[in-house]
């Protein structure tokens, strides 16, 4: 099995420029490719090496390098190995190509990444909101989005102090957390 993997990897190395292959374990391979070569790589993996199952597309926001990393995990039911193809795209404007014509499951992952990171995938069948239907803020999974700051800015904190609790406290019971020890203490707007 490993011979087969080595065989097609050699072939790929010849055919795609700028590709870096790293064997992480017997069934995991990491491949780094330039962004424009990824569709060709996936086409080769799917067509010639049997990697027909797109397990997931993951997105990582490398804010300091001003880049998004997209990782395509494809699995082969024949050679029982998983190839993770890593690409980097510029954070601005954050546009990439859809691989929906190769892998239909890509539609969900691309839609999800679009929603959470704001990356636009050209040619993806559906870029509508799915989970955050009523969300008007920035894409929340981006690193610059601070959820705690957003809450303090947009929502008001309630002082939870019902009558039954006051009675309990008057009797010497209940749980009292002083404001300075509360994690989400009321911050000034």
């Amino acid at each position: 099995m490993s011979k087969e993997i080595a065989h097609w990897l050699d072939n790929l190395l010849e055919e795609i420029e700028g590709i870096k292959v790293r064997r992480k374990s017997s069934r995991r391979v990491r491949v780094d490719v330039p962004a424009d070569a990824l569709p060709a790589l996936l086409e080769l993996l799917q067509g010639r090496a049997g990697y027909i199952h797109l397990s997931a597309i993951s997105c990582v926001d490398w804010i300091e390098e001003e880049e998004f990393e997209l990782v395509y995990h494809v699995w082969s039911y024949e050679s029982h190995s998983l190839v993770s193809a890593h690409i980097r795209i510029a954070r601005d404007p954050g546009v990439y190509l859809s691989v929906y014509d190769l892998y239909q499951p890509a539609a969900f992952f691309e839609r999800d990444i679009h929603e959470m990171y704001g990356i636009h995938f050209e040619g993806s069948p559906n870029m509508e909101k799915f989970i955050l239907t009523e969300w008007n803020g920035p894409p929340p999974m981006r690193k610059e989005f601070d959820s705690e700051a957003y809450i303090n800015e947009h929502l008001s904190w309630q002082n939870y102090n019902p009558e039954w609790l006051q009675e309990l406290i008057a009797e010497g019971g209940g749980i009292i957390i002083p404001p300075e020890e509360q994690r989400f203490s009321q911050k000034k707007k």
């Binding site: 199952h53 993951s58 990782v71 039911y77 029982h80 499951p105 989970i131």
Partner: protein
């Protein structure tokens, strides 16, 4: 979508009408909705509508320490939480190069298989209820409760056990616990013929499920279907055997398959898997007393734990299919990125949308429950 934000759209005159199926509907698993376009009682178009269970786990995990996240991950899939714990723990172990003691690996297998049986019983119950057979639902939930009792005993939690931690498991098994597992398995085995007579051979169910929600193996592969749903189309693929983790390569079990790819086949595959899970558990119960040693590898101070930089992709076979975690560390005390890939992100969205079209409205519940879609996994 909140009702106050719903606006009726003016449409040209037609015989079609729209129906919001869910999010609070007995034919839907969990809080999830389908927006259906119907012609009579036939579905013309289906659009999945999620987000009702979105809790932002992936964002939360980036803001918490590596060890704190073990309390978050099981909540991603309510009926079958153990694979989520394992996936996350395995990812951290691989990033740190931690070697998990053998005893912990066997205990983990036991936890996973108990969780699988519990999840299947729960699904059967829900599935039977959609055909009006409430007795099966009561039985399924009651028998699942016996497994939850076991979970409570050895992990401390009934539903969310929070038992796997990076490096191993949290605590040693109580005295005489394996005996009680064995007795519960005896009881479950004795119940299987009852389940067959009440549900699986019941014509009310068979006639409702046969020929409903059919997909071919080609379609299943193209749509990214995994787990029992894929095996119901005839492909014997199981992550436990083909991408083995823990000690599954030392265990004997078969991978049941069916050919027809309909709701009936998918349910039957799960029924057959119960037998295999019981078989695995029996092997674990037999082997565990002889496997002695620590139950977890020593880990650094968890409150000041910087996991080495790197990325890892872990896969586990849950009761619903392939569950994967992509975990990235930048060498800091918190994960840089955790991506959760639940099997239902395929089954509950694209697959359900495609399979609903052309079916009748009463078959949607059959399709969804036979796919065993788990909305909290989709929303995360």
């Amino acid at each position: 979508m909140r009702p106050e934000n719903y606006e009726a759209q003016r449409q040209p005159p037609s015989n079609e009408f729209e129906l919001n199926f869910g999010p609070n509907h007995p034919g839907i698993e969990g809080n999830y909705a389908l927006k259906l376009k119907l012609h009579g009682d036939q579905v013309v178009e289906a659009k999945a509508d999620g987000g009702y269970l979105h809790r932002g786990f992936e964002k939360l995990m980036e803001q918490r320490l590596w060890i704190q996240n073990i309390a978050l991950v099981p909540r991603i899939c309510v009926p079958d939480p153990s694979p989520m714990e394992l996936c996350y723990s395995m990812a951290v172990e691989q990033l740190c190069g931690l070697e998990v003691p053998e005893r912990a690996q066997w205990i983990r297998v036991m936890q996973l298989e108990l969780s699988r049986i519990a999840a299947h019983l729960f699904t059967f119950g829900g599935h039977a209820a959609t055909t009006g057979m409430y007795s099966t639902m009561y039985w399924g939930v009651a028998d699942r409760d016996l497994l939850l009792d076991l979970f409570e005993e050895f992990t401390g939690g009934r539903v969310y056990s929070i038992y796997n931690i990076p490096g191993g498991v949290r605590r040693e098994l109580p005295d005489g616990f394996l005996q009680r597992v064995s007795e519960t398995l005896d009881y479950l085995e004795s119940r299987l013929p009852d389940y067959d007579n009440l549900f699986f051979k019941n014509q009310v169910f068979v006639r409702r499920a046969k020929g409903v929600g059919v997909m071919s193996q080609e379609q299943a592969l193209a749509w990214g279907v995994t787990g029992p749903n894929l095996r119901a189309t005839g492909l014997a693929f199981d992550v436990r055997r083909d991408d083995p983790y823990l000690v599954y390569d030392q265990l004997e079990f078969e991978i049941p398959t069916e050919e027809s790819g309909d709701a009936w086949a998918r349910t039957l595959v799960r029924r057959l898997e119960l037998v295999q899970s019981i078989r695995i558990l029996r092997q674990v119960v037999e082997a565990l007393p002889d496997i002695r040693g620590p139950i977890r590898a020593p880990i650094p101070n968890p409150l000041a734990w910087n996991v080495p930089a790197g990325e890892v992709y872990t896969r586990v076979e849950s009761s619903k299919g392939e569950t994967c975690y992509f975990v990235v560390s930048n060498g800091g005390p918190k994960p840089y990125r955790v991506h959760v890939r639940g099997p239902s992100s395929m089954h509950a969205v694209q697959v359900l949308e495609k399979m609903s079209v052309g079916s009748r409205i009463e078959d949607i519940a059959q399709t969804m429950f036979s796919l065993d879609a788990c909305p909290p996994e989709v929303d995360r």
